[in-house]
């Protein structure tokens, strides 16, 4: 920075408006390189709004999902702390044990942080201010664990207790003097703490013995990742703690990722007998994912959508790689950002009113983009010639048409999700789940193609035809319940029709003659009697036979009517989004980008760079069609290529010779001349550098097995 002073010295520069700059930053990243600043600002805003919405919704969801297990944990801690005082016989007998909650969280370790966060917040607000969480990596030895626990416990209180500052000072000082100090310090600190809060006059020690639970809150220590702890450290810590249970109401919470048997693997009986363990199971991560998808993806109120491929990638990463809901949401965020960044028309991806408003302000360029959209082109082709011409040339007409199309798109979404749920309700309990067990599977099928043309759909319908009456009725009732609250005329009428059907089913019961009930029973029996694992073919055959052998009963007629009705609903509302004009506005479809960002393959790209440098360098001279490396490629590529031809151990000298030959050829030295393939100093140095780089990348390493050799660390690749 420049100053107007001529002398040397120190100058204070106030950080001028730094804050403003920072907030701008985020946006300027986004708008950078876009020709139309206004539209990109708008998109940025929309994107931010949606992301905030996702964030709050997932947080609420997380809270709701954890509520049950956290509530029971809280209950447990409260119970434990109250038991210490007015207790019954059983708990008195076990007073010397440390109450311990084993919280089984599942292997998606990345998600646990959120759970522990809300857990300790909850504990702090409703049970005790004294909560310390420790992680294995901070506690290599007993000493460190002890130190961490003391620090956390005493510090949390330091942060809270503003009213007696000098007290706190003194405490921290004392505690810093003897950080290595034992739990005795903690006990003293604790009794001081509790005595102070129990407003009784000091000195009357005896009388204050009649304390209630509020005045003696438990001291909770949370071990976030039990498996990773050094068993020795944990054992010692528990042994030490158990000596203080009389003076200090300790409580442990173990976060366990695998199974409760871990406790037995880690703690010998002499130690685990000091604990009084209770198990708590948190929600499984796939259930968690299901709810997240339900809330964020399978709803019309969230305008941003993923197409089938992207969805597949995200779900795939979850199921195949990490089980992490957090990462799933990260993926969703990435898709969201990419969509709004790369698709200028995403200004229309928002609530209906807003979208219609934004549509009005579209400029000529944007309208041209609309004309380019494949879905729109398909739409245009279906119009009459005159209309086609008008759409191509008349901007305002186009805007009008787009208004209608956007409305249609919203309507489509409004109907799609309820019908999807209905279809799922009907099919999710069928034997062997022809249309998937989870609604996301059905959703994926529907995104890809016309579901009613799928084989699975046919078999599902066939299976539905074999349901017993009461089963069918209850399923249809559930469907009606799904459709009921939807505010859309189409859904309303569908709901009415469904109710009518249901009441017809009810009426079937009323004049039930003996004969008809008998036939119904007859009818349901073949399905019921089938073994669970019959294949579909068998089922269909039974169905056909039974159908041929008998005339349709009124139930059968009605059932077919109902199923036909469902079928028409499916056909009219579950067509894939590609069929909707302008769907590109809302759907993000670049699955490759998502995969590249979320599931990187560093090794593949390094190998690609080394074996075909053209891929990254884009230099024409490096281009080769047959996959071979040209002689003029960078040294490291040549060294790499040569090393692929070697076995486990590579003779350095041979390698150098080969390298030098290649390089000489590249330099255009005459193959017959003396100097060809000779190793000179420069070549030698270049070779050594290439080898060092390969070692750095982890392809080779030096070895003591054989002199002048290096070992290959990778296999295959030739």
């Amino acid at each position: 920075m420049a100053t107007s002073s001529v002398s040397k010295g120190c100058f204070v520069f106030k950080p001028s408006a730094k804050k403003k700059k920072k907030t701008l930053d985020l946006e300027s990243y986004f708008t950078d390189g876009c020709e139309d600043a206004r539209s990109s600002e708008l998109r940025f805003e929309l994107c931010q709004d949606l992301w905030d919405q996702i964030k709050t919704e997932t947080e609420i969801l997380q809270d709701e999902l954890n509520r049950k297990v956290l509530d029971s944990l809280l209950e447990f801690t409260k119970k434990c702390s109250s038991i210490r005082h007015h207790s019954d016989w059983t708990s008195q007998m076990r007073a010397s044990e440390i109450p311990t909650a084993a919280l089984i969280l599942g292997v998606n370790v990345t998600d646990h942080d959120m759970t522990f966060q809300s857990l300790s917040e909850l504990l702090q607000t409703s049970v005790t201010p004294h909560v310390a969480s420790v992680q294995a990596k901070e506690c290599g030895a007993l000493k460190h664990l002890m130190k961490k626990v003391l620090e956390r416990l005493m510090d949390t209180v330091v942060a809270v207790g503003d009213d007696d500052d000098d007290e706190v000072e003194e405490e921290t000082e004392q505690h810093h003097r003897s950080v290595h100090c034992s739990l005795t310090t903690l006990c003293d600190w604790y009794s001081k703490k509790t005595k102070k809060s129990s407003s009784g006059t000091p000195g009357k020690k005896r009388s204050s013995l009649v304390v209630n639970e509020q005045q003696e809150p438990p001291v909770v220590i949370v071990f976030k990742d039990l498996e990773a702890f050094n068993p020795r450290v944990l054992q010692d810590f528990i042994l030490v703690c158990s000596r203080y249970v009389q003076r200090l109401p300790l409580m442990f919470i173990f976060g366990i990722a695998t199974a409760p048997s871990t406790i037995q693997h880690m703690l010998p009986h002499s130690v685990s007998s000091l604990l009084c363990i209770e198990l708590f199971q948190s929600l499984s991560c796939s259930q968690h994912l299901t709810t997240v998808i339900e809330k964020l993806i399978l709803t019309h109120s969230f305008p941003f959508k993923l197409n089938g491929k992207v969805m597949q990638v995200l779900v795939g990463i979850f199921l195949y790689h990490d089980f992490s809901v957090k990462n799933f949401i990260k993926g969703l965020q990435l898709a969201l950002l990419e969509h709004f960044y790369s698709q200028p028309l995403s200004v229309l991806c928002c609530r209906k009113e807003k979208a219609l408003l934004n549509l009005k302000h579209l400029r000529h360029d944007d309208l041209e983009r609309v004309r380019q959209l494949p879905s729109f082109r398909r739409f245009v082709e279906k119009q009459e010639i005159e209309e086609q011409e008008k759409l191509r040339t008349d901007d305002s007409h186009l805007k009008n048409v787009c208004q209608k199309l956007m409305k249609d798109l919203h309507k489509y979404h409004k109907c799609y999700y309820p019908i999807l749920r209905c279809l799922h309700t009907l099919t999710s309990s069928l034997p062997r789940y022809p249309l998937g067990k989870q609604i996301r599977e059905l959703h994926l099928i529907c995104l890809e193609k016309n579901v009613w043309e799928a084989e699975e759909y046919q078999s599902a319908v066939n299976l539905l035809k074999m349901l017993a009456k009461d089963e069918l009725i209850s399923l249809l009732q559930k469907c009606a319940e799904i459709l009921q609250p939807i505010r859309s005329t189409q859904m309303k009428s569908a709901c009415v029709q469904l109710e009518e059907l249901l009441s017809k089913f009810q009426q079937l019961d009323a004049p039930a003659t003996d004969q008809s009930t008998a036939s119904e029973e007859n009818f349901t029996s073949p399905v019921k009697n089938l073994p669970k694992k019959t294949d579909l073919f068998q089922l269909q055959k039974t169905l056909l036979e039974s159908r041929r052998s008998r005339k349709k009963s009124p139930f059968e007629a009605l059932r077919n009517e109902a199923l036909d009705f469902i079928d028409t609903l499916v056909k009219s509302h579950l067509s894939p989004p590609e069929s909707q004009p302008l769907y590109e506005v809302c759907y993000y479809s670049s699955s490759a980008a998502v995969r590249r960002h979320l599931n990187a393959a560093p090794r593949t790209s390094i190998q690609a760079a080394l074996s075909s440098p053209y891929h990254y360098l884009q230099n024409e001279s490096l281009k080769s069609d047959d996959g071979t490396v040209s002689n003029s490629a960078p040294d490291i590529c040549i060294a790499y290529k040569l090393h692929l031809e070697c076995g486990r151990l590579i003779n350095l000298y041979d390698w150098l010779e080969a390298y030098s030959t290649v390089i000489s050829a590249a330099e255009g030295t005459d193959p017959d001349s003396d100097g060809f393939g000779k190793v000179d100093e420069v070549k030698h140095a270049r070779f050594i550098r290439a080898v060092a780089e390969l070692e750095f990348l982890g392809f080779i390493k030096s070895t003591k097995q054989k002199t002048d050799h290096v070992a290959r660390l990778t296999w295959g690749g030739c």
Binding site: I277, A600, A601
Partner: protein
């Protein structure tokens, strides 16, 4: 029975209370008391008490110290992660925190002795001071070669009326340094007999039931468990756990308190069932329901590959994983010393690339070697399902071992339809 404890110089009433609190340990307590002598008399410099777990060693010493209000410092060797802490605690409880703060930052034994002497000359002992070292004194022995011998003759070193009491589960012989040292007095606490156990356990009677009723319960309990478990602590735990079940018929009005036979009939099957989980505590009860661990799809295959790599000899990989391996029969590559089961020998370490090679041949689809495949390996290590051995250096060809059981891996394999037994050399 009471009044067995007698020692001049102590309050009669207190002695009586002590003996009430120590059923079945009167002999040992009496012995200890007579060793201690009268309060102001010098006691033998060091006493070594040994006996199995829960034979009441700490119980007896603590009761004596507390009830007779003797000046004492109890230190735990586990807790004293450094000797400094031990010294500090001793000084703290004898002379207050001022003395403890005199210790330099990392005090040596002689610092401790110096400060102790200085303090004790100011506040000489009016009665014997006791240092009780609770639990695992073997840590003392291993901490510092000089520490234990010095403690044993601390009385002499500090010239004060002080006695060190060591409580141990193992015998003195394992402690004696090879250079020899001052021999402490040995005092053995034998295990409780069945009758003694009954007597001790019956003490914790339930307030709303009679002592007789409770002791009949203890009788039944011991009848079932005595053959498998004699640990007082464990038995007490079991007693607390099962008592409510025992009272059920009485509470429901189906049986009278005196109707021992009926009560026995009611509780016996229940106890028999509990027998299977003795020593396992609560965890076990829900255990069977939760042995199943959910893992991501590829993690399952990585674990399977690790298991195969750990239990199959590397030579046999070709036989299992190369598609057209021709006919290699087991006998062809059976070496003499490999007749023993690999499962009996435990998992063997394997390098990362062998794991990956097996992984790629067992997993049924093409898998890109993405970063997340590799990070799953480290996740498995964090979960303790794999163990990384030797160095942490990732570049230097790390080696792993698989740490799961056959049952576990079979369950995992079933969920991905992989017949693991077909790929295990041991089951060929």
């Amino acid at each position: 029975m009471t009044g067995l404890l007698q020692q001049p110089g102590y309050d009669e009433e207190r002695l009586k209370r002590v003996s009430e609190l120590l059923p079945c340990r009167e002999v040992q307590a009496g012995m200890l008391l007579s060793l201690m002598g009268q309060p102001q008399q010098y006691c033998y410099p060091s006493v070594f008490i040994y006996g199995h777990r829960s034979s009441g060693k700490s119980h007896v010493t603590n009761i004596l110290m507390e009830e007779l209000e003797l000046p004492h410092a109890t230190v735990s060797c586990v807790e004293c992660v450094s000797v400094a802490l031990l010294f500090e605690q001793v000084l703290l409880s004898f002379f207050g925190c001022d003395a403890a703060s005199l210790l330099p930052r990392s005090p040596s034994l002689s610092d401790f002795v110096r400060i102790y002497r200085q303090q004790s000359s100011q506040f000489p002992a009016e009665q014997t001071r006791y240092i009780v070292s609770d639990t695992s004194p073997e840590l003392l022995r291993d901490a510092d070669a000089n520490l234990l011998p010095a403690l044993l003759r601390l009385q002499e070193l500090v010239e004060d009326n002080v006695t060190v009491i060591l409580l141990s589960e193992i015998v003195w012989e394992t402690f004696r340094p090879n250079t020899g040292c001052f021999e402490p007095l040995l005092l053995h606490f034998p295990d409780y007999s069945k009758d003694e156990l009954k007597q001790v356990l019956s003490k914790n009677k339930h307030p709303s039931y009679s002592a007789e009723f409770y002791s009949s319960y203890i009788n039944i309990l011991l009848g079932v468990f005595y053959s498998v478990c004699r640990d007082l602590r464990e038995l007490r735990h079991l007693a607390a756990l099962n008592f409510s079940k025992f009272c059920e018929p009485v509470e429901a009005g189906k049986a009278k308190v005196g109707d021992t036979h009926k009560l026995w009939k009611n509780i016996e099957p229940h106890l028999k069932k509990a027998m299977r989980t003795v020593y396992l505590r609560e965890v076990s009860r829900c255990l069977s329901a939760h042995t199943h661990v959910e893992l991501p799809y590829y993690s399952k295959f990585l674990l399977i590959a690790a298991y195969l790599a750990s239990y199959n000899p590397a030579r046999t990989d070709k036989r299992f994983f190369v598609k057209h391996h021709g006919k290699i029969r087991k006998t062809n590559f059976l070496k003499k010393n490999e007749k023993t089961s690999n499962h009996l020998l435990g998992p063997k370490p394997f390098p990362l690339d062998r794991l990956l090679a097996i992984f790629y041949s067992v997993v049924d689809s093409r898998v890109a070697p993405t970063a997340s495949i590799f990070s799953q390996i480290s996740s498995l290590v964090t979960l303790q399902l794999l163990v990384q051995i030797s160095h942490d250096d990732q570049l230097d060809a790390p080696k792993y071992k698989c740490a799961v059981t056959l049952d576990f891996i079979s369950a995992i394999s079933r969920t991905v339809n992989f017949d693991i037994v077909k790929y295990l050399y041991d089951f060929l």
